[in-house]
């Protein structure tokens, strides 16, 4: 027997989908419901929140008390993976930064995300400032799909009638927590709008959402929900799609290449089975990539053939280009009013209860586009490091006896400080539009492979003046809100030497843009239905098709776009144009 062989699965599926997150999950769900035979490959293990979530575990059930040594967001967080994966490196070009977060598991990063579910607005698709390229579609073209996603998956919020923050079909939002009431009041004084959060959590029963429970307010969406009370692709899309009998999941399957025939059409994919490390191929009448923006780009660039010498679908040379994340910067402090506050359960929902949509006119500012603000703080479940801030700030306000203490301390006095300050903390973080630039990109590192022998990505990403100016503005806004609410800032206020606390690219985990859509095949990788210009039975349904994301967390738009692409596939199939 040969020491190297490729095992071929003779079945020809109607569609082969790579990735099981928001994009792959939605496409798989729609196509399987429509009766197509779908094979979905996932690089990580099967994950069912009903069984595998660490929801409702107390901190002492983790030997490191929920610290982030292994999982970047702590032991209980529902992401298998992180910024670094053993045996799966990536590189960055000198003088540039990119942190690439990968969750290898059924449902991908949707198992742990913040469930903040914002629609992009009309100006995000067709910018009026001319700074970035237009999308080939308008908000109105995507709106019916956002509506369907709202009805199918559920999102809470309030109708506000804001032009570029379109309303959805909302469930009732959770009421603000105590610190959020202070934030609302302070922000209003600072001239910053605050509205109810918009989150993919079932705060009430959702018609037609079979098998899903309603939220019971443990505040732990990040651990994924055992009763499917929030949106994860695993619980809400892939597992229901499996139940149709039309979708098969191959887990622990690391896809190596998209296979093409002499005409340049996709015929399937090759993959490594992580269980036996053997090579396999599967066949499909079409291939749909939803592996995440950078992983999908990597796959295309690694799929070279005579018909596609620069990589599959890369005749434009733009695969990997226009990579963009969101900007992020944050500030923390505490509210002296909340010292010695009464205890009660304010876990609430695990997505945001309130947020500030972008509220300013850029004509008066020195940077384009904007950011939204997310807020935090309160009586949360303690975990590793949770009260470290207390002895660092205990000298800033008088004690119960009216006397100021010396910073630090120990003993009875420290225990009293912990009780006094617990729940008085407050934090805010901006998430803004980072411009999609051709010069920020990922490509194949010519010299390096991962443990499967798959060439790895090399990133080139630099922030520019626009992003730094935005972070500076965030910090000024945060300080103003903190001041107006009477909070004491306890973070070091970041200045120009740290680009105003601007997180490195990738850190906000909103990367997109690497196979952008457009009408001109020379200037885009996909058409407006996320179909490759060069290969008509190839689609990309993650955040790679984004021309330019707004300051809106992109999951809701991935879902809407993937649903639209799946509908298009069904329509084209009926017309016998593909498959």
């Amino acid at each position: 027997m040969a020491s190297y062989q490729i095992k071929e699965n003779p079945t020809v599926y109607d569609a082969v989908i790579v990735g099981s997150g928001a994009g792959g999950g939605m496409a798989g769900y729609i196509l399987a419901k429509a009766g197509l035979k779908v094979l979905m490959l996932e690089a990580g293990p099967f994950f069912d929140p009903a069984k595998d979530s660490l929801q409702l575990r107390m901190p002492w059930e983790s030997p490191r008390r929920g610290a982030s040594t292994i999982r970047p967001f702590g032991d209980f967080d529902a992401a298998y993976g992180g910024w670094e994966l053993e045996g799966e490196p990536y590189t960055t070009a000198a003088g540039t930064d990119f942190d690439w977060f990968r969750a290898r598991m059924l449902g991908g990063r949707t198992n742990h995300w913040g469930r903040i579910s914002l629609r992009m607005g009309p100006d995000d698709f067709k910018p009026k400032d001319g700074v970035t390229d237009e999308w080939p579609i308008t908000y109105d073209e995507l709106k019916p799909f956002y509506d369907r996603v709202d009805r199918m998956i559920g999102v809470y919020g309030t109708k506000e009638g804001l032009h570029n923050e379109p309303d959805g079909i909302f469930l009732k939002p959770p009421k603000p927590r105590l610190n959020e009431l202070f934030i609302k009041k302070g922000a209003k004084k600072a001239g910053v709008m605050v509205i109810a959060g918009r989150g993919a959590v079932l705060t009430e029963a959702l018609a037609g959402s079979e098998g899903r429970g309603t939220c019971f307010f443990c505040g732990q969406c990040g651990r994924s929900c055992k009763v499917y009370g929030d949106f994860s692709s695993s619980s809400c899309l892939v597992i229901p799609a499996i139940k149709t009998g039309n979708l098969t999941v191959l887990d622990n399957a690391m896809v190596r290449e998209v296979l093409t025939n002499d005409e340049g059409l996709a015929t399937g994919v090759s993959y490594v089975d992580k269980n036996d490390l053997q090579e396999y191929t599967v066949k499909g009448k079409m291939v749909i990539l939803g592996a995440s923006a950078c992983e999908s780009a990597r796959l295309l660039l690694n799929s070279k053939s005579a018909a596609h010498p620069a990589g599959l679908g890369n005749s434009s040379g733009l695969v990997g280009r226009y990579l963009h994340d969101s900007t992020g910067s944050s500030l923390g402090g505490f509210l002296p009013q909340l010292l010695d506050r009464k205890r009660y359960n304010e876990d609430g929902a695990g997505s945001v209860h309130i947020y500030s949509p972008w509220w300013l006119d850029n004509k008066k500012l020195n940077f384009p586009r904007g950011y939204h603000i997310e807020y935090g703080g309160g009586l949360h479940m303690p975990s590793y490091g949770y009260l470290n801030w207390v002895p660092a700030v205990n000298h800033l306000v008088p004690g119960k006896d009216g006397q100021k203490k010396a910073q630090g301390g120990y003993g009875q006095s420290l225990k009293e400080d912990a009780r006094r300050f617990y729940g008085a903390n407050v934090g805010m973080a901006g998430r803004g539009t980072a411009l999609a630039r051709k010069d920020n990109y990922c490509e194949i590192d010519p010299a390096k492979v991962d443990k499967f022998g798959i060439p790895v990505l090399r990133f080139h990403y630099k922030w520019a003046a626009e992003e730094v100016a935005q972070a500076k503005h965030m910090q000024e806004t945060f300080q103003s809100i903190m001041h107006e609410m009477g909070a004491i800032i306890t973070s070091n206020i970041p200045g120009p030497d740290s680009s105003y606390g601007l997180e490195t690219p990738g850190k906000i985990i909103h990367e997109g843009g690497t196979t952008r859509m457009g009408n001109d095949p020379k200037n885009s990788v996909l058409n407006k239905y996320c179909q490759s210009h060069d290969c008509q039975n190839l689609f990309v349904v993650d955040a790679a098709p984004f021309v330019q994301q707004g300051d809106k967390n992109l999951t809701w738009s991935i879902l809407a776009l993937s649903m639209r692409t799946a509908d298009y596939i069904l329509e084209q199939k009926n017309k016998l144009n593909i498959g």
């Binding site: 069984k51 040594t69 292994i70 529902a78 029963a205 098998g211 019971f216 307010f217 009660y344 359960n345």
Partner: protein
């Protein structure tokens, strides 16, 4: 699914809330003052094999020797002593937690080992004994020189750094234990309904239901 069915699906409707708390798995052993190791919980569903293997492996290793563990225990109980509300750090298993966490986060190892040594040298210079063997009065006199960063004398700064780290680890270990969570008054992690800030709290801070 309505809320009642949701709770039923969770297996909580009949069980009630008390059981939920007590069913949350094994607590760390509280005889840690003898240097006992943390009892790593059985593998929970959803914990990956490699994670559990790593936990078990770390748990089987020893970093601190007996003397170091004794010193950590004395310090932890100075930082979090027993009071009318709750027990001490050692009663909450903090020393064993610290033994585990320095293996989990090796960046703690040199500052902790060196800091403990630094403390013994200081104690020996002042009192002719290792810190753990000093009288309570002498231990406190030494701790007072390193527990207040803004007041510490220049020559004591290394001690301040060590004590700050030790204090943070003690806070982490204590307030994530069953004793500490009860002390701090975290009363969540229970299925329920969030209907906003309770009325009496709104009143206290001058807010209304409509805010």
């Amino acid at each position: 699914m309505n809320r009642r069915e949701t709770l039923k699906a969770l297996g909580l409707a009949a069980a009630g809330t008390g059981l939920l708390i007590s069913s949350c798995g094994p607590e760390t052993k509280t005889n840690a003052d003898k240097g006992a190791t943390v009892k790593v919980p059985e593998k929970l569903p959803g914990v990956q094999d490699f994670e559990q293997e790593r936990n078990n492996k770390l748990n089987a290793e020893h970093f601190f020797n007996e003397h170091e563990m004794a010193t950590i225990t004395v310090l932890a109980d100075i930082i979090i002593p027993k009071d009318a509300v709750s027990g001490s750090a050692s009663e909450a298993g903090v020393p064993a937690f610290i033994e585990f966490i320095v293996k989990d986060m090796p960046d703690h190892q040199i500052p902790m080992r060196g800091g403990l040594k630094w403390l013994d040298v200081q104690a020996f210079k002042s009192y002719g004994k290792a810190f753990a063997d000093c009288s309570e009065k002498d231990q406190i006199a030494l701790v007072d020189q390193i527990a207040y960063p803004a007041q510490a004398k220049p020559g004591m700064q290394q001690g301040v750094s060590f004590f700050s780290r030790m204090r943070e680890l003690t806070l982490s270990g204590f307030y994530t234990s069953e004793i500490g969570v009860k002390d701090i008054g975290y009363v969540g992690n229970l299925p329920g309904i969030w209907d906003g800030v309770p009325k009496d709290v709104l009143d206290q801070y001058g807010f209304t239901m409509n805010d």
